[in-house]
Point group: C2
Chain length 144, copies 2
């Protein structure tokens, strides 16, 4: 028998596959809204509270300015957000929703339900999965 690690036994591959499958389920729904999945995540954060600096968005999502700067530029191009230098600290750029950006929230209501419908898991299993993933992510991030 081979002593090489096996693909199917690796939790990391299970995570990678599940994550890709989830974004694939979201893709057509988000396409109706004109958003990609990471753009949707940024909008979720802004719908909770705005303005947010690029730094704050990055802290929430685990993304750096190398990812966020061009992404925000595209959201601005779509007319969903605006970027403005903060007056108190000119290093900071505050991101705010436009009216169109705020309005999009209503149409995004139904998005999470799509995943729940397609997941084929009980509410208990979802709950447990969510909790375990939270623990795992925290442990992994703290080990860096």
């Amino acid at each position: 028998m081979s002593d090489a690690p096996r693909l199917r036994h690796q939790v990391c591959f299970a995570l990678y596959s599940a994550s890709k499958a989830a974004t694939a389920v979201y893709r057509p729904v988000l396409e109706d809204l004109g958003l990609t999945y990471p753009q949707y995540l940024v909008m979720l954060v802004l719908w909770e509270k705005e303005p947010r600096s690029v730094r704050e968005l990055g802290a929430e999502l685990g993304l750096d300015s190398g990812t966020l700067s061009p992404l925000l530029k595209r959201l601005e191009g779509l007319g969903l957000v605006e970027r403005r230098r903060a007056a108190e600290d000119e290093r900071r750029v505050d991101v705010v929703l436009t009216d169109a950006g705020t309005a999009l929230s209503a149409r995004a209501q139904a998005v999470p339900q799509r995943l729940a419908d397609a997941a084929g898991l009980s509410a208990d299993e979802i709950e447990q999965l969510h909790a375990t993933l939270g623990k795992l992510t925290a442990a992994l991030n703290s080990s860096l």
Copy 2:
């Protein structure tokens, strides 16, 4: 209270974060081997059985030729694999390991343990997580 979906409540974000955290833990280990994470996945498949056509690799990993073609070209540039047109069916490209590619398997033995060490989960929890992710991925993929 806001009726917008909340980032922290979304399982999809938990999956996305966990997957990114896992590859981040692997990154420095794999860097020692000279591999990226997707390149490592391809090598895992080949260590199990070779040769494999591009199509077979894609079926195992859920990736298409748009991703695999340039990735395999890089692995070939590293001297780990070779690509050759199949004689029986000239549409197919068979990927085989070089001696160096085969030898790398030994050094990759320790990779999965890193994740287990950093995960902070019991063996039971890992087992359950793995099983739930498998069910989830299957359900999501069959809903497409």
